[in-house]
């Protein structure tokens, strides 16, 4: 039986269908989760997809963090449940304090959509183990507030503990501190990522298929767990 991966829909979530498709292509079974419901249906892992939950009106992710489903996800994450937050999902994870730092307005003050080169810095998380360290990939990036910020000591800590998961190459699209594109928690089950690997799982619609290993990684992790 394939692993059941929950994909959460908040009001204003946009990339939930894409995330579910990526799970399916990777060989998992996507399970729809609803923001207003604290039941996470016994899923083996959770994806918080991209979008503009609550219109991103206050601060991205600030309102969603308080949704009933997040209580269960925060509890689960603390107990080792794999959680991947993509873009808006990453913003929700930092607002929930499952990951340190904050995501601010892009330095250019524009929304930006581009095919972005990344280096996978750490293949040691539940969501990156199917990559090799230093692997270079290209996946879409699209955000208005993807400018990662943390104070210098937090940044040093993240670097020192190998918790920077992915870094921007060639171009830093949003002004992120130390070109950071994604980070993980200490245990490696929670990963936040600004770029969109779920848009790079089919050669027909993506610039590459190099986003797929994020989704196979968690399946591998669950089997070996």
């Amino acid at each position: 039986m394939s692993a059941r991966i929950g994909v959460v829909t908040f009001p204003g979530t946009l990339d939930d269908r894409d995330a579910a498709r990526a799970v399916r292509i990777a060989g998992g079974e996507p399970v729809e989760l609803w923001h207003g419901d604290d039941d996470i249906k016994g899923v083996d892992a959770v994806i918080l997809p991209g979008g503009f939950s609550y219109g991103d009106y206050l601060r991205c992710g600030a309102i969603s963090r308080f949704a009933p489903v997040m209580n269960s996800i925060i509890d689960g994450a603390k107990g080792g449940l794999p959680v991947l937050g993509i873009c808006n999902g990453f913003q929700i994870l930092v607002e929930s304090h499952l990951l340190p730092g904050a995501l601010m307005r892009n330095e250019s003050r524009h929304f930006i959509c581009r095919d972005q080169k990344l280096r996978i810095e750490n293949a040691d998380s539940m969501w990156t183990r199917d990559y090799f360290t230093n692997q270079e990939i290209v996946v879409p990036l699209k955000n208005g507030e993807g400018n990662y910020f943390a104070d210098p000591s937090t940044l040093d800590m993240l670097e020192g503990e190998g918790r920077v998961v992915a870094r921007y190459l060639d171009v830093n699209p949003n002004g992120s501190a130390r070109d950071i594109a994604g980070i993980r928690n200490e245990r490696g089950n929670v990963v936040g990522l600004m770029p969109h690997p779920e848009h790079a799982v089919e050669s027909l619609t993506g610039p590459t298929t190099e986003g797929l290993p994020f989704f196979t990684s968690v399946l591998t992790s669950l089997v070996s767990a």
């Binding site: 609550y54 219109g55 009106y57 206050l58 600030a62 309102i63 308080f66």
Partner: protein, 83 residues
Amino acid sequence: MARVVVDVMLKPEILDPQGRAVQGALGRLGLSGVADVRQGKQFVIQVDGDLSGDRLALMHKLAEELLSNPVIENYSLTVEADA
């Protein structure tokens, strides 16, 4: 040295989706009786020297035309002389 604070708010008759979203969230998080929320911008501007006469007039003009959009927003401006 002067410190200028410009508050920019949507005109009352204009829809404020941001304020609405905040109003909903405050209610869900247990604050009862929230009748209205409006979200605006605040600019805090440090200006060298004395801000009066023509320069103050220019500051007002820029608050109206640059910092706010008179089609949908109102602004208010206060000057605090500073140390």
